[in-house]
């Protein structure tokens, strides 16, 4: 990669980063934790002439809640997320997803913004944030756009991010008392594992345990992390009980077989998807039991 990078900037605030992006447009690449980009550069897959480092910007690293809306700054690291008090209790599935990533060294650098903008099929933060119906706030020098995360990611490593835009933050509603979120990931070992399969389940129930709303997102089950719209439609309005869960598991197996037809992982994932779904579901339902008891 020698000689290819001509200019590097360590931006200390968003405004500086946006001005630099506006100036250099497609010549520039945003560098945050670097845990993907630096490898890509060394392998010669990307060779940006200009690098804009945003890992030292404090304002985009904040994680906060305001009137039930959680704002997750794009340069928050996975360590920031895993340790944040907001993700300690009801939203612990988000901390769990962050903790499942890489190693302490990776989690200290890698950012949630980088995870979303790289949009790897196995990106670990995508399923839980998709299940929370998160919005992304994209900023350029001249405008701010807010998009649903489900529309932002358009394919394998493809997003709607424009060359002069920066993902500033991710926004979603915190859970209320009759909602729960669960996350489960299957890797080949505990540390440093890339997800073979991951799933996040968001549930809203009424006092009779009827499924008022559900959002399910999967990772590494296709070209990009995605919402499982068919399964969601099937579950809505039905009673949350074991016979429903068995039907859903069968539905997931069927769709996995279709989606991964011809891939050698299909035969493994058609079964694994059911177990991973069950674990994420159980975690989402834990909230139901906890709140019922209290």
């Amino acid at each position: 990669m020698r000689d290819l990078v001509q200019n590097v900037y360590q931006a200390k605030d968003t405004e500086t980063a946006l001005n630099l992006l506006n100036q250099h447009q497609s010549e520039a690449k945003i560098l945050a934790g670097g845990t993907d980009l630096i490898i890509q550069m060394r392998e010669g897959n990307v060779s940006p002439p200009v690098l804009i480092d945003i890992s030292s910007i404090h304002e985009t690293r904040e994680i906060k809640e305001q009137s039930n809306t959680i704002e997750l700054g794009s340069t928050a690291t996975f360590t920031d997320i895993e340790k944040h008090i907001l993700f300690n209790h009801c939203l612990s599935a988000i901390a769990k997803a962050a903790r499942s990533i890489g190693s302490p060294q990776i989690r200290n650098r890698a950012t949630v913004g980088g995870n979303l903008c790289n949009a790897s099929p196995a990106a670990d933060m995508l399923p839980p944030l998709l299940a929370m119906d998160a919005m992304v706030v994209l900023k350029s020098k001249h405008q701010t756009r807010v998009l649903p995360l489900s529309e932002f990611v358009t394919g394998k490593e493809q997003t709607l991010l424009q060359v002069d835009e920066l993902l500033e933050k991710i926004r979603f509603q915190n859970l209320t008392s009759n909602e729960g979120l669960g996350f489960s990931k299957l890797g080949i070992r505990n540390a440093l594992a890339i997800a073979r399969l991951s799933m996040a389940v968001y549930l809203e129930w009424d006092e009779n345990h009827m499924c008022k709303n559900v959002r399910i997102a999967s990772g590494a089950l296709g070209l990009n992390a995605q919402r499982e719209w068919d399964v969601e439609r099937f579950m809505k309005g039905k009673h949350l009980n074991n016979s429903l869960f068995a039907e859903v598991a069968a539905l997931l197996e069927e769709s996995t077989m279709k989606r991964l037809a011809g891939r050698n992982t299909m035969n493994f994932k058609r079964y694994a998807v059911q177990g991973v779904f069950k674990q994420a579901l159980d975690e989402a339902l834990e909230g139901m039991d906890r709140r019922k008891d209290s």
Binding site: Q10, D53, P104, Q105
Partner: protein, 169 residues
């Protein structure tokens, strides 16, 4: 080329760097601090672990210019002014936690980052803290035991000297 100032082991260095120089290469080749090792070069093995503002990072996945304004600590900073080893290093020797030694600088720094923040770690905390450092010789048990022993020693030093401990519990 670009002029840059780095704080490594509490010393300021003003050097000229290539724009895409990695922190690892700055440390090893520019500053000649060769205690930091390069293993895989892609963030898997942890041999290049250094502390940046007290947190472990893989120096192969940080570009040097990103480290400007941060405090970098490498293995060379650990031994004490009187030339004796840091209790973590001493415990590694005593427990037989070093075989080929290639992973050791990274292991020791991961252990230091843990013990600076958590002077009384559980066995699980210890294993978690070195989960980003691969060792192909020891099988990890002796390393985990060494870190436990170092925690004891540091605790004892602390109570002997009666000074305030760094970091938070």
């Amino acid at each position: 080329m670009k002029k840059a100032v780095f704080n490594v082991n509490n010393k300021e260095y003003m050097v000229e760097i290539e724009e895409d120089l990695r922190l690892l290469d700055l440390i090893r080749n520019t500053l000649n601090l060769t205690g930091t090792k390069e293993g895989c070069g892609e963030g898997e093995c942890g041999a290049c672990t250094v502390l940046m503002d007290g947190e472990v990072v893989n120096s192969c996945l940080v570009l040097a210019f990103q480290a400007e304004g941060k405090k970098i600590e490498t293995i060379e900073n650990l031994d004490r002014e009187d030339g004796t080893l840091h209790p973590i290093q001493q415990a590694f020797l005593e427990e037989g936690a070093v075989q080929c030694g290639f992973c050791t600088p990274g292991m020791v720094l991961s252990a230091k980052s843990l013990l600076d923040k958590n002077p009384a770690p559980s066995k699980h905390d210890i294993r978690e803290s070195i989960s980003g450092n691969l060792c192909r010789c020891t099988g990890y048990n002796k390393i985990a035991e060494a870190i436990e022993k170092a925690a004891e020693t540091l605790k004892k030093e602390e109570s002997d000297s009666g000074t305030a401990r760094r970091g938070t519990k």
